[in-house]
Amino acid sequence: MTEPAVAGLVTGSAADPETEPIVEVTDLHVSFGEIHAVRGVSFAVRPGECVAIVGESGSGKSVTARTLLGLTGDDARVRAGSFRVEGADASAFGERRWRSVRGRRIGFVLQDALVSLDALRPVGKEVAEALRLHRPVPRGAVAGRVVELLREVGVPEPELRARQYPHELSGGLRQRALIASAIACHPRLLIADEPTTALDVTVQAQILRLLAERKRTGTALLLISHDLAVVAELADRVLVMKDGVVVEDGPAERVLREPDHPYTRRLLAAVPMEHAKGTRLSVAEGEPPRTITPPVPGEIVIEARDLVKAFHGRPAVDGVSFELRAGETLGVVGESGSGKTTTARLVLGLLAPDAGSVEIDGRPWAGLTAGERRELRRHIQVVYQDPLSSFDPRFTVRRVLDEALGVGGEPRATRRDRAVELLEQVGLDASVLDRRPLRLSGGQRQRVAIARALAPRPRVIVCDEPVSALDVSIQAQVLDLLADLQSELGIAYLFISHHLGVVHHVSDRVLVMKDGRAVEYGDVRQVFTEPRAAYTRELLAAIPRLDAVSTGLPTRRAS
């Protein structure tokens, strides 16, 4: 790259390659049969610029991204007012011409490298593939260039890693390798579709730094994300998409600070980090924010003492103690492999600890007969991340609830009324009774899962990543629902999440886990404002923040 682009968003003369858009679309429409996925989207990405498309699932953001590579698929109809790639009319591109664009002029990074890299090939071969396809270096230099590229994206021991398979690498290294394969031929534009969604927060921060570095060296970025905070770190310009339409479009700072469109405002309000416990996240337009009165904590419902559990000699949980009182929420936060899920399974009595004890309502799991365990299990229920896989797909909602009510000892005669009552409690009505989980939306499914958990009238619900699979606005509604149920019924939650913002929002107290140990345990305010453990500080520093946008105008940065 010669000089950094100083012009930023200001359009220069069309002939100037420094400012001429790398891609430019106006009035883009994409439809699949009857489904009109993208309706009239217009934008341009210029050198050194980062444009972000933000939206929830089904908004058409990923389809838009794929259109820029000519990869919408054979069954898609693409129509645009104008569609230019580096000045050439892309609507006239044939397959061969597109192939010369893909990987060479425009690179593409998908989320979750575990499935986005070929599991049967070493990662080095994947990087080499891009080099062999476009020949930016002679054949003999490919192996050396692969190592260089891996080093460039921050992969340690690149010679060794190049020979390893995706499943042998950590999530962060995999994602770096994927990025290396996308930038192998120095494309002028890098499209990143949810590049950090499957990653832990500290790894996410590293990947975002890596993308920022690419941008600094002059690569343009098109970032696709559902997460406004991730976008705030990098974007110069933000497009908010909903149902295939761009509802808001402007400089990142303006869109994230003074959003015009009610949908953008709703998305911003739904981000849990910025709100204290007790405020509602899902705000209907024109309605003043309501607060929820948290109940006063009661007697102890879970007491875990010095829990130890090892698998194949490797400790998964190592000396963890905590207590949870009725009407209270204890957030358990940590990255993958920190032992949070093992802790949950110990608490649920699904695993027996090697040492230590768990008491539910004052009764220990240890030494119970099978019948007594079943009886105790009514007091502690669970809600998982993906309710679809925890429902029998052939069961209707009625049968799911009926079964749960039966376990809870509800007499057959009153089960139907009770099922309707449960559905009302979670904000659904009797019309879903005869539907199957597959036919419900993600949010509805999670509500049914909560209704099922409520059926035996438990004292505690263990929530294992209950909102991680949901869009931010649905996530807000489900979190509000959990808060409502807590104030109404006095239930205690053991709330497990990797998402610090969510944990911050829902918890009274927080347990921070790393490598099976509790590194910090205390009041939510103390943990988040005056963390004692170095690891907690590291986690907090890694959270992408909406207010990062104030420092995020790197296109104007002179070298």
Binding site: R66, L69, R99, F108, L117, D118, L120, L178
Partner: protein, 314 residues
């Protein structure tokens, strides 16, 4: 790197161990069958041929028929271990020699058919997966026909058209390549259709995977994506199916060798069964069991070659 290799070694050892158990089971079953067959064991072994009293005495001595059952079992086991499958009193040669003379032709036919089927179905699956509706419709229609026609019928049809009418290939026996063509086609046809269906289905699933999109986004042509990425992912289920098919093919040798008047294990078995030549039948059972076990070990090793994720498992 030594970890996976050691695990692979251990896997092979366990496989060989269980295989020995399977073979021991096969030996025991044929020994039991021999003794459960109605009539005197010596008569059963002799079958429908007539022998002199000296030969009869020799059989009784060979099998230890005058001694307790357990000793007989031990003697039998010991002989099988030494590779002595006994004597066919109808063919007047050792069972091992009889099978050895016929095995080559059958293995040649089976392997050729298998190679043809694998090549054809891989090509067809690669060409038809995720294509226009009519291509897939046509292909799956033909596959249905191919699976439905019994092998003996295919064999008769091929013989009628290409040997009797067109005279392109020899009608009976047939040495070398020309004699092999029609039987190979007859045997390979149902296998090809089955494999094509399975491979196309798994290819279509694989082509939806994100890593395929990534490869396309790198600028890889469609054929390259199919060959270099998608194909290998369909090989694990394909190899499983092929392992099964090898066993079935040995069974289908009986009608095919009969119709094409070929030498082979099928003809040998047929003759032995109709002539009540029990030593040969028992020998064929054992050899089949050995083949099956070997194929299964190969299949398990192929899994490890194909999918690196399995190398660390277990």
């Amino acid at each position: 790197m030594s970890g996976p290799r050691r695990r692979t070694g251990r896997l092979v050892l366990t496989r060989v161990g269980t295989s020995v158990l399977v073979l021991w089971g096969a030996v025991t079953v044929s020994f039991t069958a021999l003794h459960l067959t109605p009539g005197n064991v010596a008569d059963v072994l002799i079958g429908s041929s007539t022998v002199t009293p000296e030969v009869r005495a020799q059989i009784i001595a060979d099998y230890g028929l005058d001694r307790p059952l357990l000793t007989q079992y031990a003697t039998y086991l010991g002989r099988v271990l030494r590779g002595d499958l006994g004597q066919s009193y109808q063919l007047h040669e050792s069972v091992a020699a009889a099978i050895g003379a016929q095995l080559g032709a059958s293995v040649q036919l089976t392997l050729s058919a298998l190679v043809l089927a694998v090549v054809a179905s891989t090509t067809l699956a690669l060409l038809t997966a995720r294509r226009a509706r009519w291509i897939r419709g046509l292909s799956s229609g033909l596959e249905l026909v191919g699976v439905s026609i019994p092998t003996f019928w295919t064999a008769i049809l091929l013989l009628t058209v290409f040997s009797f009418q067109l005279g392109w290939f020899p009608a009976a026996g047939g040495e070398g390549f020309a004699g092999l063509v029609l039987p190979v086609i007859a045997v390979a046809l149902p296998v090809t259709t089955m494999l094509t269906q399975m491979m196309r289905e798994s290819l279509e699933l694989v082509l939806d995977e994100p890593f395929v999109l990534t490869a396309r986004a790198r600028g890889m042509p469609d054929l390259g994506v199919r060959l270099r990425h998608a194909l290998r992912h369909t090989l694990v289920p394909a190899v499983t199916l092929i392992g099964w098919i090898v066993g079935l093919l040995l069974g289908s040798m009986v009608p095919v060798e009969q119709i094409f008047s070929r030498q082979g294990i099928g003809q040998l078995t047929l003759g032995a069964v109709t002539g009540k030549d029990l030593p040969v039948v028992m020998g064929v059972v054992l050899v089949t069991a050995v083949l099956y076990v070997v194929v299964n070990i190969l299949v398990d090793l192929l899994y490890l070659v194909i999918d690196p994720r399995l190398r660390g498992a277990r």
